[in-house]
């Protein structure tokens, strides 16, 4: 039995439809529809994970949902041309467990699940107009695709199935041969309109980190999981250098998710540690190797501080270069983005990017980490045209950095080993 997966991923939801075709479906009457299951996840990156609801069901449920959405949208549009007082819901809504929508104020809508299977503890979901639009777009895209694929000429003549006899055996044999042939339409994710781009190629565009230890996890913030469930990162890989000084905090004490989410919060304990390290670093000969160790062994650690000047110092502490009065790479990058980064009003999450730098101080690759980072990339003012925005890299400076842009305007920079 072959199956086809249709996947539509507008920014605020993911619609996945799996169609399982029966072996003889190409020979049978077109009235026999393939078995179909759908899964609709409202995964707006601007919402917290626990608000990301999933609905699923079969073909009938999908058609019902499609009808409800289309009718509601049409009535909403029509109401702009009519006098007030025209209701957009009828008394028949909600009867027999059908899902339905009602307006909530001017810009929001409430979707009542009815009989639809879902993982919410409530019986309804509040949708914004953007979410409703994305959902309608995904459903329309699937409908278009279904029409297009259904209008393709049949390779074999339609034969009404009948059982028994030699003819049935012959049909079965031919069907088996047909199934065993390379599938013309294997499992696929389907591209739709630009606003509902497919998910798989997006994932393929994200280059995995080129860290030496194959067992090390990618330090990508897991936007879809609650903080408590995120596992701590393993220790960084060992390098052939002496151990760091004892007063340098253990990276395991500062999981990346906590750091990213606590940007701007005042933590007196962490500040104290920063001050201690700063004092120590001032007295250490800049030619000492341990500074380089810190860069390579604690690639993702920094601590937050309310004052902007304090934000620069930890980066300096981790990435200060020997025998040079020039600001470090991380300092330069932090300073650059502190001037340029203007968080959008509606942004509630931190945006994280991996930047691969060229020797001349320009960016040759930007890797957005997470859906929110992809969405807001063009608003980050990251120089994307290959222009040099920091001084050329010296030999021992890492050329991969992680940039964290926080919704409160703060900027954090981490260096990663090559």
């Amino acid at each position: 039995m072959s199956s086809i997966i249709h996947r539509f991923t507008p920014p605020t939801c993911t619609l996945e439809i799996t169609e399982k075709k029966l072996p003889l479906s190409g020979w049978l009457s077109s009235d026999i529809l393939p078995n179909c299951q759908f899964k609709l996840k409202f995964d707006d990156p601007r919402q917290t994970t626990f608000k990301q609801i999933t609905i699923q069901g079969d073909r009938q449920d999908l058609l019902q949902l499609q009808t409800v959405i289309n009718c509601y949208v049409q009535m909403q549009l029509q109401s702009s041309f009519q006098a007030k007082g025209i209701k957009t819901t009828s008394k028949r809504d909600g009867i027999n467990g059908k899902p339905y929508l009602t307006p909530q104020g001017l810009m929001h809508h409430e979707l009542f699940f009815g009989r639809l299977t879902h993982d919410s503890q409530l019986h309804s979901l509040k949708l914004s107009t953007i979410q409703l639009f994305d959902l309608a777009t995904a459903l329309a895209a699937y409908q278009t695709e279904t029409i297009v694929s259904g209008s393709k000429p049949q390779a074999l003549p339609k034969i009404i199935a009948f059982g028994g006899g030699i003819a049935a055996v012959t049909l079965t044999a031919i069907a088996i041969i047909t199934v065993l042939k390379p599938q013309m339409q294997p499992e696929r994710a389907t591209n739709t309109q630009p606003q509902s781009s497919i998910k798989i190629p997006e994932l393929n565009e994200i280059t995995p980190p080129s860290l030496p230890d194959p067992h090390q996890k990618t330090a990508t913030p897991k936007l879809r999981e609650p903080i408590a469930s995120i596992t701590r990162l393993p220790p960084p890989p060992a390098v052939e250098t002496p151990k760091p000084k004892p007063n340098i905090p253990d990276p395991a004490d500062y999981p990346l998710s906590d750091v990213a989410r606590q940007s701007g919060l005042d933590n007196p304990v962490k500040n104290k540690n920063i001050n201690n390290r700063e004092t120590k670093s001032a007295s250490i000969n800049p030619q000492t190797a341990p500074k380089t160790d810190v860069v390579e062994q604690i690639p993702t650690v920094t601590t937050s501080s309310p004052a902007k000047t304090n934000l620069v110092k930890p980066a300096q502490d981790l990435a200060v270069k020997s025998s040079s009065n020039q600001p470090s790479q991380a300092e330069q990058i932090t300073a650059y983005f502190e001037n340029k980064w203007q968080p959008p009003v509606e942004l509630k999450q931190s945006l994280e990017y991996r930047l691969v730098l060229d020797r001349n101080g320009s960016i040759i690759r930007i890797v957005p980490l997470g859906k929110a980072a992809q969405l807001y990339l063009n608003q980050t003012n990251i120089p994307v045209n290959g222009e040099a925005f920091i001084s050329p890299l010296t030999k021992s400076q890492p050329d991969i950095i992680r940039l964290l842009l926080n919704p409160d305007g703060k900027v954090q920079v981490f260096t990663e080993s090559k």
Binding site: L77, S80, F81, S128, F133, E346
Partner: protein
Amino acid sequence: MAIHPETEYNHPQGQELANLRVVQDKELEEIKCHLDLVLLALEAIANINSEVIIQAAQDLHLDAVIGDRLTLWGLTSSHPKLKITGEEKKLDVEEARSLVLIICHLANQHQELLRRGVSLLEQVTEQNESPYQTALLSNYLDRFINSYQKRIAHPQKISAESLSDLAWKLLSDLLFYSGQNGHRLLWIAIFDATQINCP
């Protein structure tokens, strides 16, 4: 009831609209008002003038159908005091179809802007803040109200608050019209509205 001859369209979307239903004369006047509103909202949010609309008509090869009306539109837009008296050519169904295609084409071109506007509006609404805090929404509302007062012939008595609500509603509607099926949505909306308004 007059049955209008079907115009050959190079647009599959236009042909789709042509097959949807037969138009009654008395509906066309209301349809014109509905399209005026949507066009007004589009011009206000995208800050475009009649020249852009005429250009869009040319790009879609619809200027032969709608060119004269758009030129007239442009004149009245740039010269608000110029009143066209006498018998103005009534909107016919081919013009209505062309306008729907042009509006949805322009909305699609400005989809990112529409999306941003609606997102901002959702945010200020949820936080009980004034839309005037954001330049995008503030400018849109000002342009919308300004144009409405100048261009809508025989405007219904409408309060300032209702007019603002209408502006926000049309902004949301434009987002839906910017999608791939936008032309169908707009066509059905302007007709279904007349079904209820016309007894």
